[in-house]
Amino acid sequence: MSHSSAATAPNPALRHHFAEMEQQKNAASLGMWLFLVTEIMFFGGMFCAYLIYRLQHFNDFAAASQSLSIKLGATNTAVLITSSLTVVLAVHAARHGKRKLLVLYLLATIVLGCTFLGVKAVEYTDKFKEHHVPGPSFNFAPEYMQGHPEQSPVDMRHAEMFFSLYFVMTGMHALHMIIGVGLFSGLTWLAWKGRYTKDYYTPIEMAGLYWHFVDVVWIYLFPLLYLISRHR
């Protein structure tokens, strides 16, 4: 029925149940935003648990958080923010139909995502070596307390809880990063083959939204886990 009204042939990417491309794109973007809402609720459960226990066992959580490396955490924050920039540039390139530039920025995003995961792996290894991984071999003896008997002692169980939540939260975040890298790998391949034009680049934009979301989660994780109450 749209044949008579449409002057040009419909875009081959238009699916049968939509009347026009704009409707299809609006549906996709609303769907993606709603999906991100579910993601907020998913991470929300963990943030909620973390904040409650942090308030309940403030001293132990603050002590345990001292053992995280701000240097590595800050590096990763910078890497992720840069990757969000390359995603924006990729969407921009797609909008103007610049195929090679699009592929380039997508590849840059993948590299930055992998860098983040690599740094995270280094951090996890350090925690493992320091016996900060919850379980039978867990041990926590903060250096700054040695020779300072005035410091209130740290409850090992609660320090272990901090690390439990640290691993669950950053682990879930890393899982989302891995999914994101996989997503962008597929999109890069399709972009290289010329699937996306300036009239149809919705998947790039949607994957971009997802990537920004994962970035924002880290923007909250970093201060909550690494930064607050380090002033000792």
Partner: protein, 546 residues
């Protein structure tokens, strides 16, 4: 021979357009996916029902003589898990909702047809996991997975059952997401928000709960699994955790989940009552917005499941007050449905009988909910059969009555055939009698003090008579549920061909053929009429009546 002749005479529709297993398993047509869901959900309903019958059989005598105590724990756990996660939550949205949402708003399909199919596959993966879990030992924690029992003590298959609920949860997230986007972006020209059928409003409200609540149970399951697998101390008090946090997170989803179950059935009732009263719905806006009201308030009342769990009294007072507030939008619905029937020209077709059943049973279930929301009474009846009776009046008396009413109402549209009206009415009557006989005695049992989840009550043999009544009722109820399945299947082959609009009902889904074509409408409809415009629809003898 005669049936083939009829089949040839039928127009091309979504059922006969393609044949073969592949055309079903790879379909993206929302109507076919609805039927896939219908078959699998019905299967799980009878599995869950089988467990229920075994539970009732065990309770026929005070002694624990039919099964072992462990087996009994597994029976009520698997009954709860299957019924909640694999029947009640998806039943109306995934079957009737899937079938009707695009049709009612004049769309060709849901916004994301492939995600819709994916949601069915996720449901099936969850289903296979739960079946495997069942057959290899099951779970004995109750469907609530309370910690630390679930994370530190039980040796049953918590992680597998949790994974099943996790995966099935994503199927309902995708269904909800699909519905919201479809309602926002796919409405036909002229289908304004104030013209939406109330079924759509209720599906919309349900979808909001699905996308906001389900992720929280997902992460809770992840945390339980992590605690069990890696001995992380999150909920286990021995490791420093707090079991109350688990209960908060669990009920933050699982209380709103009750509204995921009941709201769609309320939507069905809002469709049936105007049609069989031949009247416009009374107070359209109030009924529509009360669905949203229930969805919002539903998120603020979860801790009324925890009044005796060691919460502070002040918190309990607040949650008690908020729980009472849910009565307001629920009562708005009940009163407006009743007002719709007032001076209406009521006919007693099968869907309407179920609607009557819903009104009465939901009212009882809702009012006893107020008992439980008040702190004093709740302490007295917590963990007794009173609670069991209360939520079965909502879940079975409400959800199932609405679902069965809706199945009869839209069966002509789904299958293109009429079901046998006489049998339909008989089954509705049997369900109503069987239901009340099963669950009303449980109110009394609970009030007198019979605890739930007991397998042996030989120290209180005076409870036997009420338990016998309840067990007798459950067998009648079972017959009442088998009957519709039998005659629906029968009618697919031998039923009378259905006209496009057998009930002379309002709504876009009745303006297309029965069964509809693959794209629902030959031309995108233009809506220039209000919802439930029964004043302008001439009365006509409905076929079942003559």
């Amino acid at each position: 021979m005669s049936t083939t002749a009829i089949a040839v005479a039928e127009h091309e529709n979504y059922l006969n357009k393609e044949y073969g297993i592949k055309s079903w398993l790879l379909t993206t047509d929302h109507k076919r996916i609805a039927l896939l869901y219908l078959m699998s959900i019905t299967f799980f309903f009878f599995i869950g029902g089988f467990f229920a019958l075994l539970i009732r059989l065990e309770l026929l005598t005070p002694a624990g003589d039919l099964v072992q105590a462990d087996t009994y724990n597994k029976l009520f756990t698997m009954h709860g898990m299957v019924m909640v996660f694999f029947f009640l939550i998806p039943v109306v949205p995934a079957t009737l909702g899937n079938f009707l949402v695009p049709m009612m708003i004049g769309a060709k399909d849901l916004a994301f047809p492939r995600i819709n199919l994916l949601s069915w596959y996720l449901y099936m993966i969850g289903g296979v996991l739960i079946m495997h879990c069942m057959l290899t030992g099951g779970v004995d924690t109750g469907w609530t997975f309370y910690t630390p029992y679930s994370t530190a003590f039980t040796n049953t298959k918590i992680i597998e059952a949790g994974l099943a609920a996790f995966v099935a949860g994503f199927s309902s997230i995708f269904t909800g997401l699909n519905f919201i986007v479809t309602v926002h972006r796919m409405r036909a020209p002229g289908m304004t928000w104030s013209r939406l059928p109330l079924f759509i409003w209720s599906q919309y409200a349900t979808s909001i709960i699905m996308i906001l609540g389900t992720p929280v149970i997902a992460i809770t399951i992840v945390l339980v699994a992590a605690e069990r697998l890696f001995h992380l101390g999150i909920f286990d008090p021995k490791l420093g955790g707090d079991p109350l946090l688990f209960q908060h997170l669990f009920w933050f989803y699982s209380h709103p989940a009750v509204y995921i179950m009941i709201l769609p059935s309320m939507g069905i009732i809002s469709e049936i009552i105007p049609c069989f009263s031949r009247k416009r719905i009374f107070g359209y806006k109030f009924v529509a917005l009360s669905s949203i009201g229930i969805a919002v308030l539903g998120f603020l009342v979860w801790a009324h499941h925890m009044f005796v769990a060691g919460m502070s009294v002040y918190a309990a007072l607040v949650f008690s007050f908020l729980s009472f507030l849910v009565a307001i939008p629920s009562a708005i619905k009940i009163f407006n449905w009743t007002a719709t029937m007032y001076k209406g020209s009521i006919s007693y077709q099968t869907p309407m009988l179920y609607a009557f059943g819903f009104l009465g049973l939901f009212t009882i279930g809702g009012l006893t909910g107020l008992f439980l929301a008040s702190l004093g009474i709740d302490v007295h009846v917590t963990d007794t059969y009173f609670v069991v009776a209360h939520f079965h009046y909502i879940m079975v008396g409400g959800v199932l009555m609405g679902y069965l009413g809706g199945m009869h109402f839209w069966w002509p549209k789904i299958s293109g055939r009429m079901y046998p009206e006489g049998w339909g009415r008989l089954a509705a009557l049997i369900v109503f009698i069987g239901f009340n006989l099963t669950f009303f005695p449980q109110f009394i049992l609970g009030y007198l003090g019979m605890p739930r989840r007991y397998w042996d009550y030989s120290h209180m043999p005076e409870f036997q008579i009420l338990n016998v009544l309840s067990t007798a009722g459950s067998t009648i109820l079972g017959v009442g549920y088998l009957l519709p399945m039998v005659y629906f299947l029968w009618s697919m082959r031998y039923g009378k061909l259905a006209p496009d609009n057998p009930w002379n009902a309002a709504g876009l889904e009745w303006k297309t053929s029965s069964p509809p074509t693959t794209y629902n409408f030959d031309e995108t409809p233009v809506v220039d009429f209000e919802a439930y415009d029964y004043e302008h629809i001439p009365d006509r003898e409905v076929p079942g009546e003559s």
